[in-house]
């Protein structure tokens, strides 16, 4: 990957911010530790120096310069690991007493606190922390402590902090870049897939690695969404093809007929009426298609309310009983009362009408149609069982699709959209539609959830 592209990514920018914040807190931590260790030792040293200066100033006040020189000489001889350093000079900086050979050039104002190095008798350089005061007229006194240990600690500490901070930063940077790169790689993969889909290849899917993290969840959801879109598109394409295929025939026939009529001197009224009937049938097919599409789009859902399916079933049976009797079919109904579903009254009535219409159409004279509505705990089951020829098991799923008509049904009037609408209505009501064998005949089972308000 090109670096500028990496720098532009949000993951990398977040990593940088993270490194910055992390670094700042590490530095703050080191400063605190320094203040509470090295600072503490320094303050202790300073207190000792201060105490000595106070003592020596008192000596001068009581015993004058001679006494001071004596005390200094006495103290210089005292043994100890961390030696005290003294130097008393006159106004020309000539040493009068003390264990320092020369006045260090760093001091020029009295009261100052300065660190310097001097070379002791053994020739080693020794770090010293010291303070000066003015004594009497023109004399100056330097009091200090050797700070070998403190200097050692300081040195070790600063080396440790430099290494520590740099190492922390390096690790944070490497970690950030690694995390960023991996996230970047997965997002790039997602982007690549979406670009391919935009380019028209809807079969592409985001690779799933099985890591169960949020990237995985995203990939999973995107794939699920794509599946849905692909299914819808396929359905749409299929519908489009079907419409083109199934409506072209009748339209062509209608056109031919009109063409023949136009050529006639005196077109007969019946021919014109037949053309009208044909175009009405075409319009009915279009309306049915439109209705299925609107049902599937969920357009009716906003108008859903509690409806009494028992009443609808009773009404529709009532509507069809006369038709059935005319065809010498016995229509019996066993309808449980007050089965309430949450839905659209007209759609449910239309669906039941379609089911009964099919049953009446395909049941031979002398046959039976049984409509049964039963209430179960959470479901309402409505079955329409006929004693017609039934539908072979292999075709049962297929006949639910639009324009699906079995060969033996071609002789009957119909547009092949009846069951498709029933299924669309069932699905929109969170129910389902099943076809089973009535041996002989067909059982259509419409299962709907009981309204939650019931």
């Amino acid at each position: 990957m090109r670096l500028p592209a990496l720098v532009r990514t949000s993951v990398f920018q977040l990593t940088l911010i993270y490194i910055g914040l992390f670094g700042a807190s590490v530095v703050a931590l080191f400063i605190f530790i320094y203040w509470s260790t090295v600072g503490f030792l320094e303050r202790q040293t300073d207190e000792v120096i201060e105490a000595e200066i106070t003592g020596l100033a008192e000596q001068y006040a009581t015993r004058n310069l001679i006494g001071l020189v004596e005390v200094i000489r006495d103290r210089v001889r005292r043994p100890g690991e961390e030696r005290s350093i003294y130097l008393l000079v006159d106004s020309t900086l000539r040493p009068l007493a003390g264990n320092l050979r020369a006045w260090p050039p760093q001091f020029d104002r009295p009261g100052e606190l300065v660190e310097f190095r001097y070379t002791d008798a053994g020739g080693t350089e020794v770090p010293v922390r010291a303070r000066t005061i003015a004594v009497g007229s023109g004399y100056r006194l330097l009091v200090g402590r050797e700070i070998r240990e403190l200097a050692q600690i300081k040195q070790t500490f600063s080396r440790a902090s430099i290494w520590g901070i740099s190492l922390t930063m390096c690790l944070a940077l490497i970690g950030g870049v690694l995390v960023g790169l991996s996230a970047q790689r997965r997002i790039a993969q997602l982007n690549r897939t979406t670009r391919q889909i935009i380019a028209g290849d809807l079969s592409q899917r985001v690779p799933v690695t099985g890591s169960h993290d949020e990237h995985e969840e995203l990939a999973f959801n995107v794939n699920a969404m794509l599946d849905q879109i692909e299914a819808l598109l396929t359905g749409l394409r299929h519908v489009g093809d079907s419409i083109a295929h199934d409506l072209r025939g009748p339209l062509t026939r209608l056109r031919t007929r009109l063409e023949m009529l136009a050529a006639e001197e005196q077109p007969s009224k019946t021919s014109i009426e037949e053309c009208l009937a044909q175009s009405d049938a075409l319009l009915a097919t279009f309306n049915a298609l439109l209705r299925i599409a609107r049902v599937e789009s969920g357009a009716y859902r906003s108008a859903f309310a509690d409806v009494d399916l028992s009443q609808i079933a009773t009404d529709v049976c009532d509507l069809y009983r006369a038709v059935a009797e005319d065809s010498e079919i016995t229509l019996s109904a066993d309808i449980a009362e007050h089965a309430t579903v949450y839905g659209d009254r007209e759609l449910l009535a239309q669906a039941l009408t379609n089911l009964l219409d099919n049953a009446v159409k395909y049941t031979p004279a002398g046959g039976r149609i049984k409509v049964r509505l039963s209430k179960h705990e959470h479901r309402i089951r409505l079955t329409v069982a006929d004693s017609g020829p039934g539908i072979p098991a292999a075709d049962r799923e297929r006949v639910l699709a639009r324009f699906a008509r079995l060969d033996q049904a071609r002789s009957k009037p119909g547009n092949g959209l009846g069951l498709a609408l029933v299924r669309a209505v069932a699905l929109q009501h969170d129910g389902d539609l099943k076809l089973t064998d009535n041996a002989p005949g067909l059982v259509v089972t419409l299962t709907l959830p009981v309204s939650r308000n019931a």
Binding site: N287, L319, A322, E346, L347, Q350, K361
Partner: protein, 225 residues
Amino acid sequence: MRVLIIEDDKDVASFVQKGLTQAGWNVDHASDGKDGLFLATTESYDALVVDRMLPGIDGLTVIRTLRASSNTTPVLVLSALGEVDDRVKGLKAGGDDYLVKPFAFSELMARLEALVRRAGAGSGTPATVLQVADLRLDLLRREVQRADKPIDLQPREFQLLEFLMRHAGQVVTRTMLLEGVWDYHFDPQTNVIDVHISRLRSKIDKGFDRPLLHTVRGAGYRLDA
């Protein structure tokens, strides 16, 4: 009869205008909501045919405005939307009936006639006895007689006859019957309504010289002396 068509689709408007003129109606046409509203408020009509989708002021607003100014002229709403909730919206806005495009002219004609008739009947005490020629229907006693001979009808047949008698002399379409008698608003399939009519016909016309229940080809039925 004087009717105003508010419809922006020229083909539909001229088709309706032509048909209604042939039927002897006096037809005015407005092609947008503003002109339509102007005509409807300044002129007096027996009925209005209003398309829902109009340029400028939409059809439902036209109807609402008319109703707000106490104009009670019956309105037939036309719509290409054709769905149940749309129907409810159209009727709520103050429309009296609703017709979905594309429609057969006979359907429009039948509905328009029913509207005008209903408006003409006005208020007053509702009839408890309906009579067409020698056919008598008593709403209170739930009895039907023809030439003083009692006729036994199923409850649904009784409702069907009542609807036909209330629209006596007018063409009543199958859709109107499904709406008026069964209260469902979808296209009745195949011949369900026809079967009910033929049963009713066999009860009220069989054995009488003069049939009362006529089939109007390509449109529906008419109960007439």
